[in-house]
Amino acid sequence: MHLRALLLAAAAGVAVSNAHGAADPGKPQEPRMEFAPPAAGSYELQRIQPAPDATLLNADARRQRLSDLTHGKITLLTFFYTYCVDPWGCPYAYWTLSGLRDRLIADPQLARGVRFVSVSFDPTNDTPEALRRYGARFMDDPRLEWQFLTAPSVDHLLPLLDGFGQDVRVERNADGKPTRTLNHMLKMFLIDPHGMIREIYSLAYLQQPVMLNDMRTLALENRSTAARSR
């Protein structure tokens, strides 16, 4: 069965998505970090690839070009689904992003130039209304921009996942039927204000002090580029 059909079948098995945000699997462990991170601005992040584009829906059910949200600010983008309970998947991402959000809010100048973007794996159940229920407390907080997006359909989503290199696999049960679990390798994509992916974090690399330094490094680079062009 194709990934498209599997995603649709998995989604059909979900009667009601959680309306209260991610389930709490207990306190996740931070990845091991037994070093002092290099100072912000003392290194350059590689230009890995341009961020792919797509037309998605925001939490107000309006069409949203993703490229409008991967330009102009430093963007941290991740894929999720609202009813994901894999402790090393979305809840871990939620926990990491919440921690980073707190660190950013403590640095308002940096926070003004940063946005978080969370894109759902499940267009069927994660409707704009479900996104609003899930993320209202973050998307309505002016201290840090946090956008929640979903695709109009699985057909719109798959090229975007492919473009980012974000794997997803619908778990099957012993009878070979799709379950409601979407196994995926948790990744976060750090995108510079020009739409270029400059860092990708998977589990072992979700070290919040390093991620914050990477954002500061991009902010310094952006400031320096702007100064040179004046």
């Binding site: 290194y43 690839q49 894999d86 099957r172 390093v210």
Partner: protein, 430 residues
């Protein structure tokens, strides 16, 4: 199914994600195999007049419950002979990248769609044009990209080289020359070979071998040429992973080859073997946090040049398999104290042996025979095989063997494991 059962079910599938199956891989990938591997993929050098004569990726069924256990079930040729040597998974384990030391091509195989039938889906041909490097050797997964350790260069074809970074789409991103000159207490020779990453320490460790002029020349001629014998690497380098900058050069004489980090939490060391001097070297942080390199053990009789080629560390970092090519011997070292490795077992497993890979649980050990087309032995000693052994902690017992020459498959070299996705562990609770 309640939330708790769901969480437990998901945890069974994924919570080991910071560990790995083959202990020589980038240990930070997805889709890990801690149980029984199903397929062994063997990268094979073509032999003129044997089969189609092309380098290829051969898939062996290694599931003991399968009717085709121990048999080649698939092979895919790369369309030529170019000394295809090593390979590595992408971070999502969907693709295997393999490099040819002579043709300088990089082949990308899809092993995610159906691991029993890998497909060649892309050939990357711009490594030389982009970097000037020759001989893509080590493929080490980073999130969304592949860091490639090379071993030579196109201009002089000696051992001066560097690393290249490509994104997972196969597009070039950046290059990083190996350091030359004084750095951090040592003197860089610019040579390269293996690389291994420790994210918890923000560290990349690299080793050094020799250039195309030597590895594409008959081994007997190289050994008999004093000038050629001076063209081997004698260094390792510790890099800052985030900054991608070399920080410290260690003088490790005699071509330090494969590098294995201890994956045990809290450990701060890696180990390597030197090919020409036949030693184990430990690279470890001292009490001040500075990285240091020291010789910690001798492998066989260095005067006889047994030529240690590959090593495989156990998942708990308490043991190390070492293959020595010239005497065809597989040795086991107790690494309980990495400062003092002790050889506790040795067995001749072939007339020539090269790569050694163990399963995550340490119960199965796979060995292949080929080193390099021009360095393999001649005549009857030029056995070309895959041998699989069961290891009970005391004795290697042959489980099966495949004669690659008789099967017209070529010279077997590097190995990787795959398995089909397991069904949900907690289906009954749903």
């Amino acid at each position: 199914m309640n939330i708790r059962a769901t969480v437990l079910g998901a945890a069974l599938l994924i919570c080991g994600a910071s560990l790995a199956d083959e202990t020589c891989n980038s240990p930070y990938m997805t889709g890990l195999i801690k149980g029984q591997e199903e397929f062994l993929h063997v990268l094979t050098l073509g032999i003129d007049g044997v089969g189609d004569g092309s380098d290829k990726l051969v898939t062996i069924d290694v599931n003991p419950k399968s009717a085709s256990y121990g048999k080649p079930v698939h092979s895919v040729s790369v369309g030529g002979r170019g000394e295809t040597h090593h390979m590595g998974f992408t971070d999502d384990r969907k693709h295997l990248w393999a490099g040819s030391l002579d043709s300088n091509q990089i082949y990308v195989f899809d092993v995610g769609t159906d691991p029993s039938k890998p497909r060649l889906v892309k050939t990357i041909t711009d490594l030389g044009a982009r970097t000037g490097y020759l001989g893509p050797h080590t493929f080490y997964a980073l999130p969304g990209r592949m860091l490639i350790g090379n071993i030579s260069n196109l201009a002089a074809k000696d051992g001066v080289t560097g690393m290249a970074l490509y994104n997972n789409q196969g597009n070039f991103v950046a290059k990083f020359p190996m350091p030359v000159g004084s750095l951090g207490g040592g003197v860089g020779d610019g040579y390269g070979y293996d690389l291994a990453i420790n994210p918890a320490r923000n560290a990349i460790l690299t080793s050094s071998f020799t250039g195309w002029n030597n590895y594409m020349r008959d081994l007997g001629e190289v050994v008999g040429d004093p000038a050629a014998m001076k063209k081997f690497g004698n260094t390792m380098v510790m890099w800052d992973l985030k900054a991608m900058q070399p920080r410290r050069v260690f003088e490790v004489p005699g071509a330090p080859l494969e590098i294995r980090w201890s994956l045990r939490e809290g450990d701060n060391w890696a180990i390597t073997a030197t090919a020409l001097t036949s030693k184990l070297w430990l690279i470890r942080q001292d009490k001040a946090g500075e990285w240091q390199a020291k010789e910690v053990a001798t492998i066989g009789d260095p005067a006889k040049i047994p030529l240690p080629v590959d090593i495989s560390i156990s998942a708990d970092a308490k043991g190390l398999w070492v293959n020595t090519f010239m005497d065809g011997t597989t040795r086991y070292f107790d690494l309980s104290d990495p400062e003092r490795p002790v050889q506790t077992y040795a067995k001749q497993t072939g007339k020539q042996v090269n790569m050694v890979s163990q399963s995550w649980d340490g119960k199965r050990v796979y060995i292949t025979s080929s080193l390099l087309a021009k360095w393999d032995k001649k005549g009857a000693d030029d056995e070309q095989f895959l041998r699989a052994f069961n290891w009970d902690g005391k004795e290697l017992k042959l489980a099966f063997e495949t004669d690659f020459r008789a099967a017209k498959l070529g010279r077997p070299h590097h190995m990787k494991f795959t398995a089909r996705p397991a069904p949900a562990a907690s289906t009954a609770a749903r």
